[in-house]
């Protein structure tokens, strides 16, 4: 059969990257030009201005820590002002600066380099490796990202591909790719879970596999939980030991920190096979004042390492549990649990997974290669006409619109199979409102400004009418390429407006909050099942009941100190209830209803015991 033009699969990892291709029906990893399967995701600029990528960059990291970028995947597509970036700034040896749109840039020499450019350097390197191996030009690729990456992060990864001269056919999730590679080699049918703990992220995915169709049922995870966090625990421990012995805080010394980081990672890896390992870092610190240099010597045992990191390992299993629950899958239904990512070599992680799911995890895959292999399989499946493999992928995060009161109405919940389309009817939120603003949000929060704003548009020319009379159909559509388009249509006039969502706006939380406050008058209101309305009704009803009981209770128990106090409390709760009635705050409403219900139960109980019939 005719081979289509070469398409590579790339696993762009936090610590290492891998490139693979399907040839003659078999997926295989492409070795880099130094003969290795893994290429470190490290980019550096030397003092002479030369750019280094991969092993060369990693090797010189210790002597050039400020111009060596590692773990940049944790930063890509994030806002400079985000908590994560601010936290990362403290531990990273290289310098982050703020770009024009609150994006993150890395100061390398005299240039502030964007993160897609850093990722592009790695992709470019892998592309060259593939071209050398195949002896043909390579222009197309499927690239993997953590399942939990949002639209902005995916977009940034796509941009990186474009900068590297690659047409990125698809961005697919790492655990999905792992499942593809695992299922491709075997005949698996049924539900499988992929537990992917890498250098920076934890991803868990549940898939239903049947004869080549890979249906993603659910994905979840944590973008800030991975091997680096385990390393940091070891670094902290070493710093503590050193501080106890010499009274010196090593964290202020960037070069020492880089050496500690390497040593911690190595020790952690060694302890996956050994019970104990020695950490020796001679001349680690040179005190000012001419005294002789200090050395670090420590012995780390596996049990101590597990003690230091047990809570992290336990959290990974908890997250896996949450994903299963969301997918409505019980652990015994799982046919296989596949461990992916270098961190799953750690015995404590394997042990916790085994204990928690009562199942031996499958280790028949090479955890570092499997993701790239899966990407290559998907690339091949897209271009090969007779392919048996079909991936039914899902949306990573929920999509919705901002509604009056600053809330989110979700139209497409996360883990919905794409392509998909949903229409819902809304109505105007004010009397005489002739313009509505549709703000497209991505994220899981019910509070609008805690999500990410993907785009916005206006539908105007509505009929002058009282609130709620003009109805607007809002449609969300995600096509098979993952492109989101949103349209709004006035039901009466048929007037229509729409947008196609492309890149993220890059707004901070507070900016979005301000915008929402400004646009408050132009928002739409959810028609059905508005929670607020329901709660308000409940509040009204229970408040009326309590009010009716008060005179009776006063008459019967008002003479005692207890009775008076209970009545005082009830008056307070009623006053709070009246105040909350106007509020749009769901949590406040729910709390007030709760308190009033308690008061009612108490009053009814008292009256019954006194033999009075509560009216």
């Amino acid at each position: 059969m005719a081979e289509h033009e070469p398409v590579i699969g790339i696993d762009l990892g936090t610590t290492n990257s891998v490139v693979a291709i399907v040839q003659g029906g078999q997926p295989q990893v492409i070795k880099n030009r130094t003969g290795q399967l893994l290429t470190p995701s490290v980019v550096a600029v030397t003092s002479g201005g030369k750019r280094l990528v991969g092993h060369l960059a990693k090797r010189q990291a210790i002597t050039n820590p400020e111009n060596t970028v590692y773990a940049s995947k944790r930063l890509i597509g994030r806002k400079y002002s985000s908590v994560q970036i601010q936290k990362a700034r403290e531990v990273l040896a290289y310098r982050l600066v703020c770009g024009e749109h609150d994006d993150v840039r890395v100061q390398l020499g005299d240039r502030a380099v964007s993160l897609p450019e850093i990722a592009a350097a790695v992709l470019q390197e892998l592309r060259k490796d593939a071209e050398v191996q195949l002896g043909r030009p390579v222009n197309k690729a499927v690239v993997t990202v953590p399942a939990y990456f949002n639209d902005g992060q995916r977009q940034a990864t796509k941009d990186a591909g474009r900068i590297a001269g690659l047409d990125v056919l698809r961005i697919i999730n790492e655990p999905t790719a792992a499942a593809l590679a695992y299922g491709f080699a075997r005949s698996v049918n049924g539900k499988i879970a992929v537990f992917d703990l890498g250098g920076g992220t934890l991803d868990v995915s549940i898939l239903e596999v049947s004869k080549g169709v890979f249906e993603v049922v659910a994905t979840g995870g944590d973008t800030y939980l991975g091997g680096e966090d385990f390393d940091n625990r070891v670094i902290e421990w070493l710093v503590m030991q050193f501080a106890k012995e010499h009274g010196v805080d090593l964290r202020k010394d960037r070069m020492a920190l880089q050496r500690l980081k390497d040593a911690a990672e190595r020790a952690k890896m060694e302890l996956s096979t050994l019970q104990e390992t020695a950490i020796n870092l001679p001349f680690l610190y040179t005190p000012s004042g001419g005294t002789s240099a200090l050395h670090l010597q420590a012995t780390l045992s596996r049990s101590r390492l597990e003690e230091l990191t047990r809570d992290l390992a336990e959290r990974t299993v908890q997250i896996a549990d949450e994903v299963l629950r969301e997918a409505k899958v019980r652990p015994p239904e799982l046919k296989e649990i596949i461990l992916v990512g270098g961190m799953t070599r750690m015995p404590i992680v394997q042990e916790l997974v085994r204990k928690h799911f009562h199942k031996e995890p499958s280790k028949g895959v090479h955890p570092e290669e499997v993701v790239a292999l899966g990407a290559a399989i998907q690339a091949d499946a897209l271009l090969r006409p007779d392919s048996q493999v079909l991936l039914l992928d899902v949306t990573p995060q929920s999509l919705g619109v901002a509604i009056a009161g600053g809330y989110t109405r979700r139209l497409i919940p996360r883990n919905t199979t794409v392509p998909t389309a949903v229409t819902e009817t809304f109505h105007t939120s004010r009397d005489g409102q002739t313009t509505v603003k549709i703000m497209v949000l991505q994220g899981e929060s019910d509070i609008a400004h805690q999500n990410e704003l993907l785009g916005e548009f206006i539908l105007s020319g509505l009929r002058l009418a009282p609130r709620g009379e003009v109805e607007i159909d809002v449609t969300f559509d995600i096509n098979s390429e993952g492109i989101v388009s949103v349209s709004a249509r006035d039901r009466e006039t048929g007037l229509q407006q729409s947008i196609t969502v492309t890149a993220s706006g890059g707004l901070t939380d507070t900016e979005l909050k301000d915008i929402l406050a400004e646009q408050g008058d132009f928002l739409i209101e959810a028609r059905a099942s508005s929670e607020v309305v329901l709660k308000r009704t409940a509040l009204e009803n229970v408040a009326r009941e309590v009010e009716a009981l008060v005179p009776q209770v006063r008459q019967l128990t008002g003479s005692s100190e207890f009775g008076r106090e209970a009545l005082r409390k009830a008056e307070g709760v009623l006053a709070a209830g009246r105040a909350a009635m106007k509020s749009e705050d769901l949590i406040l409403l729910a709390d007030t209803v709760d308190q009033l219900e308690k008061t009612r139960t108490l009053f009814v109980g008292v009256l019954e015991r006194l033999g009075a019939r509560p009216t």
């Binding site: 049918n189 897209l382 271009l383 199979t417 229409t423 128990t557």
Partner: protein
């Protein structure tokens, strides 16, 4: 749900004539499926009402193989691009609705005709393509039930079933019934390990419920002015949930204010035992002791308060009163 404009009949001829990278029979297949989209969720999947979840899933996967747009990636598709997307969206919607128990029930309730048909077909479900997975499952279930009839295994199975039922009750918040079932299960099969864990949960849940009930009664008694009964209820609440500091403190406060320091003291003491550094509890205990004429004890508690907060005004005032006790 979104419906694009359904293509009218003469559109079909035009579509068949379109120059796209699809063989004739595939074009016909796509157009035929498109014509079913205005039907119900079962029809879209090529199934009859009452099909099992396994059949629905198999039909969905089977149809995806043909109609998912990725199958034709990079091909010239013309109007068929939109048709495929439209078909797949409907397939996914139908599958998503029919395989989720809640959504299916809701859907069937909204379509009584389908519900009746589904009920009628429940036994003799007739799949368009008989999926072997479903047959396998049926055969396995039959084998399991035959094994379960074996007297020895039956006891274990019955115990297991009881434990499962108990778990359900536990989740729906009736620990009392769960405990009853667990007791029965233990009689049938004393070696059933899973039962122990559930029993612990059930018991602690039951105790928490009892504690809450006693607390309600205690508050009632207090309002009714029956201090002795209230004291007994507060103690009972604590007996069922011995770790609740707030209950002990509330009881002590209520009784003390009602002029019953003697009844209040054990509860105040309990509150202090549970949270030795909670200053309001310590002050309360000191005040109660003072009221009972036990100034030596009162002084010790006040001093404990001042140790944590040397400027505590109330403690300083009380210390003056009890200094010579």
């Amino acid at each position: 749900m979104l419906r694009e404009n359904e293509s009218p009949g003469n559109d079909v001829e035009a579509a068949l004539g379109e120059a796209v990278d699809l063989p004739e029979d595939r074009k016909r297949e796509i157009l035929a499926r498109e014509a079913t989209l205005s039907g119900d969720h079962y029809a879209v999947l090529g199934l009859r009402p009452g099909a099992t979840v396994e059949q629905i899933r198999a039909a969905y996967h089977e149809a995806s193989r043909v109609f998912h747009p990725d199958r034709y990636y990079g091909k010239k598709l013309g109007s068929f691009q939109g048709r495929l997307e439209h078909i797949f969206k409907r397939l996914a919607e139908a599958h998503g609705t029919l395989t989720d128990e809640e959504k299916r029930t809701e859907y069937l309730q909204a379509h009584p005709r389908l519900r009746a048909a589904a009920a009628a077909a429940a036994v003799a479900a007739a799949p368009v393509r008989p999926p072997t997975a479903a047959e396998d499952a049926a055969r396995q279930a039959e084998r399991r039930s035959r094994l379960a009839r074996h007297p020895y295994l039956a006891r274990g199975a019955k115990a297991k079933k009881l434990v499962e039922e108990a778990r359900v009750h536990l989740r729906s918040g009736s620990p009392e019934r769960a405990l009853g079932l667990l007791h029965k299960a233990a009689k049938l099969d004393p070696r059933h390990k899973a039962a122990d864990g559930i029993r612990d949960v059930a018991e602690s849940q039951k105790n928490a419920e009892r504690a809450a009930a006693e607390l309600d009664l205690a508050r009632e008694s207090a309002i009714l002015g029956d201090a002795a009964a209230a004291a007994a209820r507060f103690r009972a609440a604590l007996a069922f949930d011995p770790s609740v500091h707030a209950v002990a403190k509330e009881g002590a406060e209520v009784l003390f204010r009602a002029g019953e320091p003697a009844l209040a003291r054990p509860l105040a003491q309990k509150a202090v035992d549970l949270q030795p550094t909670h200053l309001p509890s310590l002050m309360l205990l000191a005040n109660i002791c003072h009221a009972l004429g036990m100034d030596k004890l009162a002084r010790r508690h006040v001093e404990a308060v001042l140790e944590h907060e040397p400027e505590h005004a109330e403690a300083k005032a009380l210390l003056k009163k009890v200094r010579w006790g």
